[in-house]
């Protein structure tokens, strides 16, 4: 069963009707094919309308949509010979961040991705994509390994944020994130980061201080969740919609701010309607972003990353 968001109600109704008619057509009624194609045209128009004027809050919901492609889907769809690599070599294996080596369109790469999980079991296993220090330390280890073997790093970001727990704090969550950011900035291989769903604060930037930062059209990226922001600044969590507006967390705004280099278009109706197409579109954008970087040497890559982040903040909206 397809999962519909609140604002997708009219879309859901049309699809139900089409589905119903299709069942009828099995009983060989007349004129049904015409009616179906009429409704399909209407559905297409409806989708275009709804998706052309999404509010930031609606985008937050799309970015969190359970059917949206997750980290594992990008790895499955884009990386051949994928070989997972686990553990931080100090404490544990944190499955909120997955990683490994593989081949991306012929090129050996290191892949690091948040994974939220697609069903209840997987969500538990991956802790909803919220990493503890071990996750960031593993990411760091894999980036250093990539650096050692001159492999470009591709990261896929999708997290509500770092896990807020006693154990995570006790083992140095802040330090783990800080060092991961530092490693992103230091490595002498290309780092292409893509925000595929939710880019949640420190937990996101820990994997995203790259040479190029791409973002899916309906993904969001922010310093705090709209709910968190609403409860602190408005003192009312139910003001999340207003907070989502104020935070300017959409790909379109972030491109204007120079935080995001390229916005990757999603299939009509959002990534959750056509996951495979979405993954392929990201693959093309990553390939294009990576190509010019492959010609740069280590120090040039580091310098480019620095200059890029030093330039951010020079312009507002």
């Amino acid at each position: 069963m397809r999962h519909y968001l609140d604002f997708e109600k009219p879309i859901a109704e049309l699809e139900d009707k089409i589905e119903e008619l299709r069942h009828l057509s099995n009983s060989a009624e007349l004129n049904i094919a015409d009616e179906v194609s009429r409704l399909e045209t209407k559905l297409d128009r409806q989708l275009r309308q709804v998706y052309a004027r999404l509010t930031p809050w609606q985008k937050v919901q799309i970015a969190r949509h359970p059917d949206r492609p997750h980290g594992v889907d990008f790895i499955k769809g884009l990386i051949a010979e994928f070989t997972p690599l686990a553990g931080d070599r100090a404490f544990a294996e944190d499955r909120a961040i997955i990683g490994g080596i593989g081949r991306f369109r012929g090129q050996s790469v290191m892949v690091i991705a948040h994974e939220k999980g697609a069903d209840t079991d997987a969500r538990m296993k991956h802790n909803f994509g919220m990493a503890r220090p071990e996750g960031y330390r593993k990411a760091r280890r894999l980036m250093e390994l990539a650096d050692h073997f001159h492999l470009p790093v591709l990261s896929f970001v999708d997290t509500a944020g770092a896990y807020p727990g006693v154990d995570a704090e006790a083992r140095g969550q802040a330090e783990a994130i800080a060092r991961a950011i530092d490693t992103c900035l230091k490595i002498e291989v290309p780092l292409v980061a893509t925000i595929i769903g939710e880019g949640g604060s420190g937990g996101a930037i820990a994997l995203a201080a790259g040479n190029r930062v791409l973002m899916l059209e309906h993904a969001v990226y922010s310093v705090i969740s709209p709910e968190g922001c609403a409860s602190i600044l408005w003192r009312m969590p139910e003001k999340a919609q207003e907070a989502a507006d104020a935070l300017k967390l959409t790909a379109q705004d972030l491109a204007k701010l120079g935080v995001v280099d390229d916005v990757v278009a999603e299939p009509l109706g959002g990534g959750h309607r056509a996951p495979a197409k979405t993954v392929a579109a990201v693959g093309d954008a990553v390939e294009e972003a990576l190509r010019p970087l492959l010609g740069l040497d280590g120090p040039a890559l580091r310098a480019q990353r620095r200059e890029k982040f030093l330039a951010v903040g020079g312009r507002g909206l």
Partner: protein, 288 residues
């Protein structure tokens, strides 16, 4: 190295802000033990409660005066940065909040940067102003830390950063998040020059501030009792639905968990820094 060639020495502040010698409130109530303390005595005791040892917050001006030789320092003017980049508004306009904070204190944003000497060795100190919007870090603070790092490199000085901050400034949205990598770059400049980078964690150091430059010190010192951590205590309690352990996220807790080198009483702080800088820079001094 392009960041040095691009660098313009920040203007030395023309006027050192007038300091109010007589505090507005003659008495301060200790937030920990409730003791009423005569403000002048409290200041003489470096804002440490004489009855319970609580290290109270202090203004960046007092902090700098306490750390530099003879209390003398030269503040630098922070780089001009974009104001209210998102045109943010919650229940109030961010532009108004900012103006209010600027009008009510001596600083244009939540950071004061100055240079001088500590034990005769050149040092740059960047101290946060918690009184300025909770010491939150936006573009201006990030730019201030970059200026501090560049100045340290230029003067071959040690860099000491004293955070007192709730984290990133939400009103600057993702641009405040971008200060995590940007301040990390600042730290890298100082480290690349092999100059000491020392962090003095004070109450509080949390959120995005803790997850960047504050946890990247060559040497990390914490003041007793300071709250230091990434996630807020309330958020953690709501997530795990249980009471937090005694002393959680306090300086001593971090020390026990291996996250800081030293927990140092404020009375000993200057001497400790002086000694560390002297030891770390010994070779350079001998070679000279």
């Amino acid at each position: 190295m392009s960041w040095i060639s691009n660098f313009v020495l920040p203007k030395i502040r023309a006027v050192v802000p007038a300091r109010r010698d007589v505090p507005d409130n003659l008495w301060t109530k200790c937030p920990q033990c409730g003791q009423l303390l005569f403000s002048r005595d409290l200041e003489a005791n470096l804002f440490v409660c004489p009855s319970c040892n609580r290290h109270l917050r202090m203004t960046p001006e007092k902090r700098l005066a306490m750390l530099f030789d003879g209390g003398h320092f030269q503040p630098i003017e922070l780089p001009k940065t974009i104001i209210d980049p998102l045109r943010f508004r919650d229940r109030k306009r961010y532009a108004d909040r900012l103006k209010e904070a600027q009008d009510s204190g001596d600083n244009r944003d939540a950071l004061l940067v100055a240079h001088g000497t500590i034990g005769g060795t050149p040092a740059v100190v960047a101290a946060f102003d918690f009184g300025f919007m909770g010491g939150s870090m936006g573009v201006a603070v990030g730019e201030g830390l970059l200026a501090a790092a560049r100045l340290a490199v230029l003067q071959e000085a040690a860099l000491i950063v004293v955070p007192a901050s709730g984290g990133a400034r939400m009103q600057e949205g993702v641009l405040s998040l971008m200060q995590l990598p940007r301040t990390t770059i600042a730290v890298e400049m100082v480290k690349a020059a092999r100059l000491p980078y020392i962090v003095v964690l004070t109450d509080p150091t949390t959120g995005g501030v803790s997850a960047s430059f504050a946890m990247l010190g060559d040497i990390t010192i914490a003041e007793p009792g300071a709250v230091i951590g990434f996630a807020g205590a309330r958020v953690i309690e709501e997530t795990i639905r249980e009471k937090l352990p005694e002393g959680f996220q306090r300086a001593e807790y971090l020390f026990e968990h291996g996250m800081v080198d030293l927990v140092v009483h404020r009375r000993e702080l200057r001497d400790t820094l002086l000694r560390i800088i002297g030891l770390l820079r010994r070779r350079a001094a001998n070679a000279a």
